[in-house]
């Protein structure tokens, strides 16, 4: 499996609403973030959930977001605070 992104790459999370078992949190869909880690590749959970083997494996990344990206100031956080989530490559596009 080729690694699609490098550490430091800017990415946007897809903002689609497909049905089924999705492990991309709703509050991060459409948000811009930065790749901070590549965890390797794993069976696709959206297929595993339905009894399929989830192959081919897909890359999993830790993506870092500024709090404002998700909440636009409507939360209780400081300027420098961040969120990370583990997101599969199929949900990420380069920006």
């Amino acid at each position: 499996m080729t690694n699609l992104f490098n550490i430091g790459d800017l990415v946007r999370v897809g903002d689609a609403l497909p049905p089924g078992h999705i492990r991309t949190p709703m509050f991060l869909r459409g948000c811009n973030g930065t790749i901070i880690k590549h965890f390797g590749s794993f069976p696709n959970p959206e297929r595993l959930a339905y009894g399929l083997n989830g192959l081919p494996k897909i890359n999993l990344y830790q993506v870092l977001f500024k709090m404002d990206e998700a909440w636009d100031g409507k939360g209780d956080y400081a300027d420098g605070d961040t969120i990370t989530a583990d997101i599969y490559e199929t949900w990420l596009e380069a920006i």
Partner: protein, 217 residues
């Protein structure tokens, strides 16, 4: 408490039932009961096996996690190995985290990690035991990512605004273990003494480790 009188000879064993199961109300609770009863009826599992498994999980506690953290505090090389490859490093201490990737997060003077699973309740159970009820609550899961500082204040944890709070949402195949900051004035303490300062919450990131006297800092 057992209401059984104790003025007769006890020859039989009392089954210990899980105390915290309320009456089922929600659809998914009835579904769980139906599946459990079917598994028993079809001889896939026995009621005793299910209960034994629940009890085995309930006996697990955060001690293993604390041993790992204490080692990382006294041994920088181990800490680096833990940060580079969590599964491999904890295997040195005889612990396994099967089929999941263990990721350690180091808290520093500039960065404070706090772990949540907004989608469900992912948690490094093999090292920390069963997660606390609040970790699985909708309230913690929704608020931790949006108002982490308010949540931390409710835990009695104050992190200065100059320190970045990084909320780590455990959404996939990784399990996160926070390495809390080593408290001041603990240089002379043994690894076994340090273990006592490392609480479950400090490894989730909702608290810091206890201070050198074992008190909340």
């Amino acid at each position: 408490m057992n209401s059984h009188t104790t003025d007769h000879e006890h020859e039989h064993d009392h089954t210990v039932f899980q105390k915290d199961i309320p009456e089922p109300k929600e659809d998914w609770e009835f579904l769980e009961i139906a599946i459990r009863e079917l598994l028993i009826e079809k001889n896939v599992l026995s009621a005793r096996e299910i209960q034994d498994e629940i009890e085995a999980w309930e006996k697990k506690n955060p001690e293993k996690g604390a041993e790992i953290i204490a080692r990382s505090w006294v041994d920088d090389d181990f800490k680096n190995r833990l940060l580079n490859d969590g599964n491999k490093a904890v295997a040195e201490l005889g612990f396994t985290v099967e089929s999941l990737k263990l990721v350690a997060l180091e808290n520093t003077d500039e960065l404070h990690h706090m772990v949540v699973c907004t989608l469900c309740s992912c948690y490094p159970r093999t090292l920390l035991g069963v997660p606390p009820l609040w970790y699985k609550s909708r309230e913690y899961r929704s608020r931790a990512v949006r108002e982490p500082r308010a949540v931390l204040r409710e835990f009695g944890t104050t992190i200065p605004d100059s320190v970045e709070i990084r909320v780590v949402d455990s959404t996939a195949d990784c399990r996160y273990l926070v390495i809390p900051k080593r408290p001041a004035n603990t240089e002379k303490m043994s690894e076994a003494e340090l273990v006592k300062l490392i609480t479950r919450d400090s490894m989730i990131g909702t608290a810091e480790a206890l201070d050198q006297d074992g008190q909340r800092s």
